[in-house]
Structure formats: C-alpha cells, structure tokens
Symmetry: C2
Subunit: 203 residues, 2 copies
C-alpha cells in the first residue's frame, strides 16, 4: 500500500490528520504539484483526474478523493470511529463534513485558485469574479458555524469527528488567500485552537 | 420523521431514488423553491443554509445534505448496501460518488445556476464566466466516465451503488442547461439508459 501525498496542500494533509487520529501509518510518496508531477503520464495512469492524495493498494486498486481514502480506512479499522457511532451521528457527521467542505473549504479554495498568481497555470481559466462571489459566502458560513459551536467542544458536541478535521484544514487554508476569521467569532477561534492543539494537527 | 422534499430539483430526487432502491417509505412535505418557501423563517429555523432535502427526526434532529440523509438510512437499514459491502468498495463508492457529484453534478449546476434567467434571484451574483469555465470541465469528465464504463454495467461493475444514483441525477439535470451527452460516448448513454429503466428512477 502506498499513499501519494502532497506536502502542504490541504487535501493530502486532511488524510494525514485522519490517519494520525486513527493511529494508522501508511508509506507516503511525495508528488510535487509545483513541479506538476501530478500531471505526469505515470501519475495520470493512476488517477486520470490528476489529484492528490491517491491511495494505491497492493493489488493495484486506486482510491482517490481524500474523504474516500478516509472511508476506506474507517471500514478497515473502525476504532476510533470518526464518521459517527450510530445512524444519527453518521448522518450528522456527513452533513457537517459536507457543509465544512462545500461552504468553507471549497469557498476558500475558490478565492485562492481564482486570484493567486501562483495558480494561473493550474486553474485555467482563472475567474476572479467567481473568487469575489465566494468571499461573502465564506464569511456567512463562518458566522453560522460560530452560532453552531456555541456551547460545543467539537462540531458534534463532545464527539470528535472527521467534520472537525475538514474544519481544521479549511481554517488553516484561509491563510493562503489571506482570509481571516473575524475577531468576534470567538467560538470558531476557540474551536480551531482546540483542533490545532491536538497532536494530529502536526501531521 | 418527515422529509422536506422539493419535487423536480436534483438533490431531493437523489434521496427519493435512494429510498426507492432501499424500499424505505418516508412521509414527504413539499417545499416550493419557486415560491421561495425554503427561505421562510420556519424552514430557515430547521436548516439555516435553506437547502432541501432536509430530514427531521421525531426528536427534532435535522439532517440535511442529500448524501448525509442517505448515509443515515444506510446505517439504519444496511440492506441492500448502496455505499459498498467491504472496505475497498466503501472507498471506491465514495470516490466515484464524489467525482460524479463534483465534476458532473456541480459542473452542470454551475452552468445552470450562473446562466439561466430563472436563477437570477436565487444565485446572487450570477457569474457567467464561471458557467463557461464549467462547460469544458463537464465534457472532459464525461469522456473520462465513458472510458471507465467500458465493459461495466454500473460504476462499480456489477454492483449498483449510490454513485450510480448521483450519476443518473446529474445526467438528467443536464437537460435544464441544455447540455447533451455526445453521441460518441456510447458507454455513458447505455449506462444512463440502464439507470433510467430501473423502477427507482420514477421516484
């Protein structure tokens, strides 16, 4: 088994944090996006969408998409459960994982990918109007998230889940397009500090 | 339990098709998006993101996001399994579900929402450049999907999964922004015909 990894990029880190929380160790192979190694013929043969992370099993099966890789390991080693411990938690974790991914992580990514000069060759065409449309969407979601986190340690209360991991990744990713969590959103800031203090955050 | 549903919209239908495949019946309540009922104070209290479908359990717990609702029912009633029957299938179903959702369904939705006059009040601001950036992305993914489907009945071969349901929804949704599956993509067309012929497609 080998995990094609990509250093600082948010989705590869999402899987590394997940594996750290699970206590699972997987051999990593670095794919350098800046050197466009993800667009090489060899890597494209593994994943025609040219995305990292991608997991290759011993029989050659390729699982890409960060959350799909996490699902594979969750099924392989259920404890500690990070996708919910009963049907209601399974639904709520998926709901919040998706909200944090679509509203926050993808919103931040849209701002970064469609404005940053370093992305001009990777995001073709860059659509600056789309970046601008995402800025208020990110801020609206952060405000909603702050309300939700009132009185809660993690997204699902006392239960730490993969939704928190996606949240950590998304908030940390905001540094690149220089989006800040507003000072007044104290619940989001405290939640992020709790996540960043976990040993897994160093992964 | 009550499922807030929305008639012809793609995500509410995705859950109805899933429930039909499971043989599960849930009381539905219609939310009329054209009349902006999803933006009412009562519905916003249930789901601050103002999205349908949303499932309300008897204790008041709200699960929104179509795939999260499907996950809840999968955990509640595992058979027939639509999210995979072992760890590798769990990973591959999630991978393809996400590919079909992000590359195809979201791509088609971007074209529709950012070009159609009927969406001008719901998608603010409309960014026509973003719609145009998504058209080639949709076509590239359809070509890749056609290669994958060569020799396969469903996305995972002989095994029907929720990834096929997302595919059915996405292809049917292409009618609204008038995007066609190219004639030469015979595998995609035959796969869609197989999915459309299942009784669940009428849900």
């Amino acid at each position: 088994m080998k995990l094609y990894d990509g250093g600082r990029a948010p989705n590869p880190r999402r899987v590394r944090v997940f594996l750290a929380e699970k206590g699972i160790s997987v051999p990593l192979e670095q794919v350098d996006i800046a050197r466009r190694e993800h667009q090489s013929a060899a890597f494209t043969a593994l994943n025609p969408l040219q995305r990292i992370p991608s997991l290759v099993l011993d029989d050659g099966t390729v699982i890409s998409e960060s959350i799909a890789i996490c699902r594979y390991f969750e099924a392989l080693q259920p404890e500690p459960a990070l996708f919910g411990r009963d049907p209601v938690e399974a639904g709520l974790v998926e709901m919040w994982q998706r909200r944090l991914e679509f509203e926050l992580l993808m919103g931040v990514a849209a701002v970064f990918r469609h404005t940053h000069p370093a992305m001009a060759e990777l995001e073709v065409p860059q659509v600056p109007e789309w970046a601008e449309a995402n800025r208020p969407r990110v801020q609206r979601f952060l405000a909603l998230l702050d309300q939700h986190l009132e009185g809660r340690t993690f997204i699902l209360g006392d239960y730490f889940s993969v939704a928190d991991i996606t949240g950590l990744i998304a908030i940390d990713f905001m540094r690149l397009p220089k989006i800040a969590v507003p000072e007044e959103l104290a619940n989001v800031r405290a939640w992020h500090a709790r996540l960043a203090a976990r040993p897994s955050a160093a992964a």
